[in-house]
């Protein structure tokens, strides 16, 4: 069963635990500037939205890479950057329509979410359930359930 990160912005409080967990997982430091998941704060609308790579089935980044440095992890379906192969050309960062693969000047390579090998640190760290790791085919199940509950409008005998 393949799983995906699923994001519910309405539950996000902007605490950035996800960004700290991500940076620690990948860099061994609490350093939100290195996080592969970002929380955007739309101040005047009062909305906070976590955003990261959604692991496209037909990934633009993967197809654009001239040296095949982005490969599919068979176990998780994640599109993973192989740093030893990456030449830092940044073509993937142009190809990705969502901006979720980015260059890291310190290493001269690109980075993106790799689902932490199947146990995403961001989802583990999220205190409100705004970021969950759920079955890819049923990311809408929670919302369906909420709406299903609202259909119960008839008085019972």
């Amino acid at each position: 069963m393949q799983k995906s990160l699923h994001i519910d912005p309405n539950k996000c409080t902007g605490c950035l635990q996800c960004e700290m967990a991500c940076s620690y997982e990948n860099y061994g430091a609490f350093n939100i500037s290195k996080s592969r998941i970002k929380v955007f704060n739309f101040e005047s609308a009062g909305r906070k939205v976590p955003y990261t790579c959604t692991q496209c089935a037909e990934a633009w980044c993967l197809h654009a890479c001239p040296v095949d440095a982005i490969r599919i992890d068979a176990a998780t379906g994640a599109k993973v950057v192989f740093e030893n192969t990456c030449v830092g050309c940044k073509v993937c960062t142009i190809a990705c329509p969502f901006g979720t693969i980015n260059y890291v000047a310190d290493s001269g390579k690109v980075q993106k979410c790799d689902l932490c090998g199947g146990q995403p640190a961001c989802a583990d760290a999220c205190p409100t359930g705004a970021i969950t790791y759920v079955e890819s085919d049923w990311t809408g199940l929670g919302k369906m359930r909420q709406w299903a509950e609202k259909t119960d409008t008839q008085p019972r005998a």
Binding site: N10, T13, G14, C15, L16, Q17, M20, A21, S23, Y24, Y27, G28, A29, F30, N31, I32, S33, K34, E43, S44, A45, G46, R47, K48, A125, P127, T128
Partner: protein
């Protein structure tokens, strides 16, 4: 270890920025943040210094847990000598600014001297420089933050700044970061303004590394987060209702100071409560509250995000107030509302926005308006002097006076001095609801006796955040005590004061203490930092910090006479509610408190006490 071990020293007179190592010996004695920065202030300045002179210093400081995954680990404080009180000032704030300072690789920034021209400090990791802020002077905190982000073309910069209140010498001006979080009390923003320092802008990409034992740290922080999530106050009450959950509760127990503490219950409390913020307005069908929000690293998320009704008279012609922004916390809803008899939730939300926008402490501002309104009621102050009709309950007066004060116009210049100076000038010092010149907040000591002792003995002037005995007296945390009794309160207050000083100095938020004790904090600190941080050691560090602050105040010229409450609370009994007929028993509690503290009858730490604490 979790300290960055580096201080940035900024000399505004010379225009220099220099890095120096953190005194790790002191860090072992005073932990960080409030404790450690106060140690630096004590060591480097004369306690008798004029707070608004170049000789005073201003320190922005983080704790060892700031910028880590510890829940609420995003706090920083501003430490200086306060211009409102003449005492030690230490104002704590959340948001994201503190964590950014740590991630740029700094434990604290010490500002000294005074710049000739308005400047702001720009810090990008280890690079720091002062930049011209002439174009920002005379503008709000909101405009300043936006302009700096645009100038650097970087939306990820974090900014702390003063608004016009800080520039205009409002003695309770605050430092505002991330648009609506504030180092709020005691006038730290006025000190920043006196130094011609408009803002501090940070970008940190170094991060926080060097956690002593990461595995143990993750275990300890995860366990502590669970304690917060499972607790009814931090897991449910605060996220849903914010601190405003208290409005109806405190009103019911008869401890809501109303109309300048003439009453202890407010008939309009329900209309300005958390529950009211959740209700749909008849005018536009929307609720005042949009959502809750968290500061950096916080798993409680008590923050309020509100949006006012665009058709409300107070904003109908001011589109800049139409967006979502920081909403009312309990203290502000009280100080702007109940303290003045104002029950218009939308107007209070706007008054709070003005305080954020121009950087003013809403507690002192609101409580000062309460004194103005009482003097207006008595006929001591007339409309011609104030500039507006100012009867109790007037939201129009509240908003107009907020603008006038922040902008330094007309009678606003007198309100800017706080109620102690204002009431004295007009011959009625008894109408100032202050201790050490600072207005007390939203808990009436006649109905919650422990808070009387809290206010009277708080080192930064009247304040609820130095020992929040409301937790025990009203909410039963960690044990229930009788709010109407003075019995045992000196011990209770001391325990809360010491624990709070340790929490503040760690870089975590005091609101965790609805669920955490020092026993929950200790394993997190111990895993993060070298030194063997036990509960007992933290309690001792807290006590050491408290006594150091006390010694500073005594050296600054304060005496036991300053550990007192306004006469009204001691002579005018509560008129209604459970505390009806009661006055504060402060005079009974003080001598016992001094004994419990190991102080002389004059409130001076004895030689033995000082020696025991290594002072």
């Amino acid at each position: 270890m979790a300290w960055a071990k580096k201080i940035l020293r900024v000399n505004l007179t010379k225009g220099t920025c220099a890095s120096e190592p953190l005194n790790m010996e002191w860090a072992q004695q005073y932990l960080g943040q409030r404790g450690l920065a106060t140690k630096y202030l004590v060591a480097e300045t004369d306690p008798k210094v004029d707070p608004l002179s170049p000789e005073n210093k201003l320190i922005m400081t983080t704790g060892p847990l700031t910028g880590t995954m510890a829940s609420t680990g995003g706090r920083y404080s501003v430490v200086t000598k306060g211009p409102l009180t003449g005492a030690i000032a230490c104002s704590n704030s959340g948001g994201y600014f503190g964590a950014e300072m740590k991630m740029a690789g700094w434990d604290m920034i010490i500002f000294e001297g005074k710049s000739k021209k308005p400047v702001y400090l720009w810090v990008e990791n280890d690079k720091a420089e002062l930049r011209d802020a002439s174009h920002l002077w005379g503008t709000t905190t909101w405009h300043t933050e936006e302009t700096i982000k645009q100038a650097h073309q970087d939306p990820q910069i974090r900014v702390a700044s003063i608004g016009r209140a800080g520039e205009n010498g409002v003695l309770y001006a605050c430092v505002v970061n991330d648009l609506h979080r504030a180092a709020g009390r005691s006038g730290v923003g006025a000190v920043m303004g006196s130094k011609n320092l408009k803002a501090v802008a940070l970008r940190g990409t170094v991060g926080v590394s060097g956690i002593r034992d990461f595995k143990a740290f993750l275990q300890a922080t995860t366990a502590a987060k669970k304690v917060l999530a499972d607790n009814a106050v931090t897991g449910q009450g605060l996220p849903k209702f914010g601190t405003q959950v208290l409005m109806n509760v405190i009103n019911e127990v008869g401890a809501l100071p109303t109309r300048n503490a003439q009453d202890v219950q407010f008939e309009g409390a329900r209309k300005i409560s958390a529950e009211a913020m959740h209700e749909k307005r008849p005018t536009d069908g929307k609720a005042n509250l949009i959502t809750n929000s968290a500061c950096f690293g916080c798993t409680i998320a008590c923050g309020r995000v509100s949006q006012v009704d665009k058709t409300h008279w107070s904003v109908v012609n001011s589109p800049k107030y139409w967006g979502a922004t920081g909403g009312l916390e309990y203290e502000n809803a009280w100080s702007l509302g109940a303290a003045n008899g104002v029950d218009d939730l939308e107007a209070l939300t706007v008054a709070n926005m003005i305080c954020n926008e121009d950087g003013m402490d809403p507690i002192t501002f609101g409580a000062t308006i309460g004194a103005v309104m009482e003097m207006f009621q008595m006929g001591v102050l007339k409309k011609e002097q104030i500039g507006v009709e100012a009867p109790f309950g007037s939201a129009q007066a509240l908003l107009e006076l907020a603008h006038m004060t922040a902008e330094g116009r007309g009678f606003g210049k007198e309100i800017a001095l706080g109620s102690a100076r204002l009431t004295k000038k007009y011959g009625h010092p008894e109408l100032s609801m202050t201790v050490k010149g600072q207005e007390f907040p939203a808990y009436d000591p006649r109905g919650i006796q422990g808070m009387g002792l809290t206010y009277a003995t708080s080192n930064r002037g009247a304040c609820h955040l130095r020992s929040y005995t409301v937790a025990s007296e009203i909410l039963g945390v960690p044990v229930k005590t009788d709010p109407l009794s003075t019995e045992g309160k000196p011990d209770l207050v001391k325990a809360f004061q010491d624990a709070t000083a340790a929490f503040d100095s760690s870089g975590t938020c005091i609101f965790t203490t609805f669920a955490w004790t020092l026993g929950d904090l200790a394993p997190q600190l111990d895993a993060a930092c070298e030194g063997g941080w036990t509960l007992e050691r933290l309690a001792e560090v807290g006590e050491r910090i408290w006594n150091m602050e006390r010694q500073y105040n005594l050296a600054a010229g304060l005496t036991a006479k300053d550990d007192d409450l306004p006469k009204r609370l001691k002579t005018e009994p509560a008129k209604s509610g459970p505390a009806k007929g009661l006055v504060s028993g402060i005079d009974k509690m003080i001598p016992e408190y001094y004994k419990v503290r190991g102080w002389t009858a004059e409130g001076v730490p004895t030689k033995d006490t000082a020696k025991r604490l290594g002072l």
